[in-house]
Subunit: 284 residues, 2 copies
């Protein structure tokens, strides 16, 4: 159960643009609008929001305990290529963080993914191909946009009374590391990060190589030993490059998508140990 | 709390030799004698035993829950070079297994270590030097002797009513892997093993290379990235050689002795998940 002290509303940054549609209503944060999705299941509340930034809508989901005020820790979840903020493992990770550790969680759609796309849902291979093209042709700008979208989202969410400006963590593998690593490097609020299934390779490898030493918080880094997309030697070089004094590499056999089933629990325990000091999550 | 079903006494193998001294008394196992050490602290019972094998005494410690009958899982703990069965981390690991997971634990002294030595305690560097010499000059025979000593100990302990023939695990890093890996490879009773701080290197590297593919149980393998004694590339080659389909490499920065403080908890959770199916230790 969640029983954390209340706190004053945090500061807000970021522009407010775009009119509200009939399906939206205002929130406590001027940059954030709620859409008509507010679900409660097993003590976990799931809400659909848009954050308005630079004239665009950044579509997201927020998971919080059903009751109580912040500040409480917040973990940002970056999904992998061809997925979305509603991906099973994103929702599973969010619900686990809220339910087991009283940590709020949020996800936004990645570039060309999810509700950022117009029209009907596209087949995952097409989305992945479009992402690969964007990464190859305009990877640094794509990275900058995602970092800015995430920071605006973080600011807006921290201004909500039931989130507040508590400790912040990151969880994102594969594409969730491609854009998440530069985010964690860019903001000192991150107190822990789970990264992996990526290496010092790909179109933005120079950007990644510059940013990795700027990551200073504790890092848990997953490697799949038989990953054909991001070979383990490139992954190890990325892990070696992190500036964090506390960084752990966890390697398992298998390909890019063959992560063992305990990854979410291991990740949640790691994040809780660093963000909450939760004795059930602390690794002694 | 421990509440496991009782079971019949298990089989016993191994010779019985040597008279009992005035400080010893017989046990339920003819190969095992108890010495005058029977401590109870925080629900954990610690007893000093000798196992008689091939005319020699193998000195050991057994940790069990204070009450109840077996069978319960048993984890064998192999200490590192210059240590002993009474090393802080051995006792800490044993107490954690009993207290948190209701798993019994046992340790015996390594070659030329602990109570295997005559006379007053020797300085650790001297013990380490003698071990290194033995490893270099007679490493395969040393390995065979330790494997046989451990198997006789395992048989004797499993015949005790409050241990019983439940699931068996191994925990041993560095020297605890040099002799523990061949042990785990030699006996199908092992259901999980924690190994590490060692690589495909050293005087018995050919023996280790032969035995690693015979290890089939789930393995958790620790690597210290800046280990000067067992470089990480040799450690990775050893991990790659294990025959286990489930094997996890966990790498942390730092030298041979700089393991992070959560190693014991991580190890205990891993062992419990595989030996008990304990929901508090299970990694989902």
């Amino acid at each position: 159960m969640c029983a954390l002290p209340t706190a004053a509303e945090g500061p807000l940054e970021g522009p407010l643009e775009g009119p509200l549609s009939e399906h939206q209503h205002e929130s406590d944060s001027p940059a954030l609008t709620w859409l008509d999705e507010d679900l409660l299941r097993g003590g976990v509340r799931q809400r659909r929001f848009d954050v308005l930034r630079a004239g665009r809508r950044v579509p997201g989901l927020l998971w919080t305990p059903a009751e109580g005020e912040g500040p409480r820790p917040l973990v940002l979840l970056g999904h992998g290529g061809s997925g979305s903020k509603r991906q099973d493992y994103v929702v599973g990770m969010a619900r686990r963080l809220v339910h087991e550790h009283c940590i709020s969680a949020a996800a936004i759609d990645g570039p060309v993914h999810g509700d950022r796309r117009a029209g009907p849902p596209a087949p995952p291979p097409l989305v992945l191909a479009e992402f690969a093209q964007l990464w190859a042709n305009d990877g640094d700008a794509m990275t900058d946009t995602m970092v800015a979208d995430w920071l605006a989202t973080l600011d807006a969410l921290q201004s909500l009374p039931d989130v507040g400006n508590g400790a912040v963590g990151w969880w994102g593998l594969s594409m969730g590391t491609i854009t998440g690593l530069p985010l964690v490097a860019a903001d000192a609020r991150f107190g822990a990060a789970v990264l992996g299934l990526m290496g010092l390779t790909g179109p933005t490898r120079e950007r990644i190589a510059r940013d990795a030493p700027r990551v200073r918080c504790p890092v848990l880094f997953f490697v799949q030993w038989d990953d054909m997309m991001f070979p383990h030697d490139a992954a190890i070089r990325l892990w070696e490059a992190f500036g964090s004094s506390e960084k752990r590499l966890v390697a398992n056999p298998g390909g890019h998508g063959d992560l063992p089933p305990d990854v979410l629990e291991t990740s949640a325990r790691f994040l809780a140990a660093h963000l909450v000091g939760d004795p059930t999550g602390a690794e002694r």
